[in-house]
Symmetry: C2
Subunit: 345 residues, 2 copies
């Protein structure tokens, strides 16, 4: 038995308690300053207020003020914050983690520091504490389905294979399937991009509804056309990031799962129906939109690279169009005829 | 305006009349000996008995006995048969096609001639009439959505680029998007495999129903896990066939569309619920099961190659399991832990 502290009590952070407890570990769930009510609820009821399946028994809940106590005598830390909480995690949590305690991030996203170069979250955090071992989870795994113990296949990526093997040993169950990879750039870039491209695919859901009415039968030919172009562009972005071909699959399968639920699908559908980005965001008030964040970060990097002649927007017509919808208030008008051109002969 | 003769009046063959007529071509739809009632219906009503959206006006229908008349003065032939009709097409239709008339096949599948080597349908047919130009359509495009004029992105692949450009010019519309490729082996192998792997992904639909009841909420983590492994295995099979990396996307996006409808999903779901292959086939009596045919062909080739040390089943745990379900009456028990192993480090 080990002691695992999860910092961040959102859906995915909390869901990680399920495989951890199923393997008999002591699990401490620490809320951020934004999770105060969640932690009160867990302390009072033993369950999470938003995550549908029940939390396993004996998950210990901690408010952020109790963080230091929650980090005593632990074996690993799981960073359960969203991409919007990464700097907070770096400043408030990372300094308190003992040097020999590995960190596993569930956060998906990339950092653009303004020069066109994108950085993965593990590498971004390692700049602050290079002596730590910081790995990350990528791949198709929604929180509620993990908490419901559905078969889920993920990749733990990091720079340290023995640490990855240790993390896998602690967290793998008969339903939580883990491959490990040292291709941090490839895995993290691929899975970060899935949010931008899930927004793109679900534009087709809204476009169809605009034609046939909300709740109409879906059309899959258009979704598949966008899905295929998303795969082409993800492949190119992974290679630009120095990642390996074999890691693209984690982004593509994560794209598949992201299309079928949650906030990104809601945003894509609203935009496809004809709402402007401002109207859509107003309708979705209060939800965390990783898809907007990653599109903006990667697009701003791409603009920088294109200015320097280091990237060609022509290769990314789909990402460019999503960027135009989000940042130039352009109406949805998918560039179907440019799909596949770069790859075709 | 050109004259286009479609031989085979199934759903997909007939749907090709829609972009062809929208471009103003004369369209002749010839039924096979199995399509007699369909052609009678089209002659009587102008519409197809199974394809939901109406056929365009002025599609001329021909019974098989009228084939020679239907081939007079034509510009292209579209081979609209299923994989089960390829030998019939070779023997009965191919000899009658004038030498300067290009053929475009909508058929998906591969031929295994018993030695472990898989052949694409264009190349198989070219053995009989090497002086013809025979190309094929691959990519995600269901017949009813094409006939409904949804955006659909396909690839025309063949050995002759000017012919591909001509075919694209004749058939591309504002909703039917065509890229062209000379990678016949890659495109045809990728899109043929999608039927086997769509069966694999939809096993998860039935497995969930076995747990929670028919019609229950779907779980996408397991589907995505299988989808990712399908992509890995398709990639390897395309490379074994001498195909290019860039062609895999047509198979993966075609897999996406195939998961969401039709016969393959029905079979995968029934097997996932716990029916044996015999019970499932009985329930689906009368439907054409491309998924069973392609799994059997590729598996038999793989067995041959493995015997000779030229292929390793370890790299294809998902295909192997589908083969076991279909041909050894094994119950569904997905090899989750072997997913990704070959690609991981």
């Amino acid at each position: 038995m080990s002691v695992i502290t999860i910092v961040g009590a959102g859906m995915m952070g909390s869901a990680m308690a399920v495989p951890a407890r199923d393997n008999g570990h002591e699990v401490r769930l620490v809320g951020t300053h934004l999770d105060r009510e969640i932690i009160e609820h867990v302390k009072a009821t033993g369950n999470h207020p938003k995550l549908q399946p029940p939390l396993p028994a004996e998950v210990q809940a901690f408010q952020i003020e109790e963080l230091e106590a929650a980090l005593q005598g632990i074996d690993i830390v799981i960073g359960g914050i969203s991409s919007f909480g990464v700097d907070w995690f770096r400043d408030q949590v990372l300094p308190l983690i003992p040097q020999d305690v590995p960190v596993l991030l569930i956060t998906k996203g990339l950092v653009h520091e303004g020069n066109g170069k994108l950085k993965t979250f593990p590498d971004y955090l390692l700049e602050s504490r290079s002596e730590l071992s910081i790995s990350a989870v990528g791949g198709p795994c929604t929180s509620y389905e993990l908490a419901d113990r559905n078969h889920s296949a993920v990749c733990f990526c990091g720079h340290d294979l023995p640490v990855l093997a240790k993390l896998k040993g602690l967290l793998e169950t008969d339903y939580y399937h883990i491959t490990v990879s040292t291709d941090v750039a490839g895995v993290e870039t691929a899975v970060a991009m899935k949010n931008a491209y899930a927004l793109a695919v679900t534009l087709a859901v809204g476009l169809k509804e605009r034609e046939n009415g909300i709740g109409c039968t879906e059309a899959y030919n258009p979704q598949a056309a966008i899905f295929g172009q998303a795969m082409r562009e993800m492949d190119k972005i992974v290679k630009m990031a120095g990642g390996k071909e074999e890691s693209v699959v984690f982004g593509v399968s994560d794209l598949y799962v992201t299309i079928f639920g949650g906030r990104t699908r809601m945003l894509g559908t609203l935009l496809g129906r004809g709402l402007s980005i401002d109207e859509a965001l107003q309708e979705l008030e209060g939800v965390t939109l990783e898809s907007v964040a990653i599109t903006n970060r990667v697009s701003s990097a791409m603009h920088k690279l294109a200015e320097q002649g280091l990237a060609n927007w022509e290769n990314f017509p789909l990402l460019r169009h999503v960027d135009e919808i989000l940042n130039q208030a352009k109406p949805v008008d998918l560039p179907w005829k440019s799909f596949g051109e770069a790859g075709a002969q």
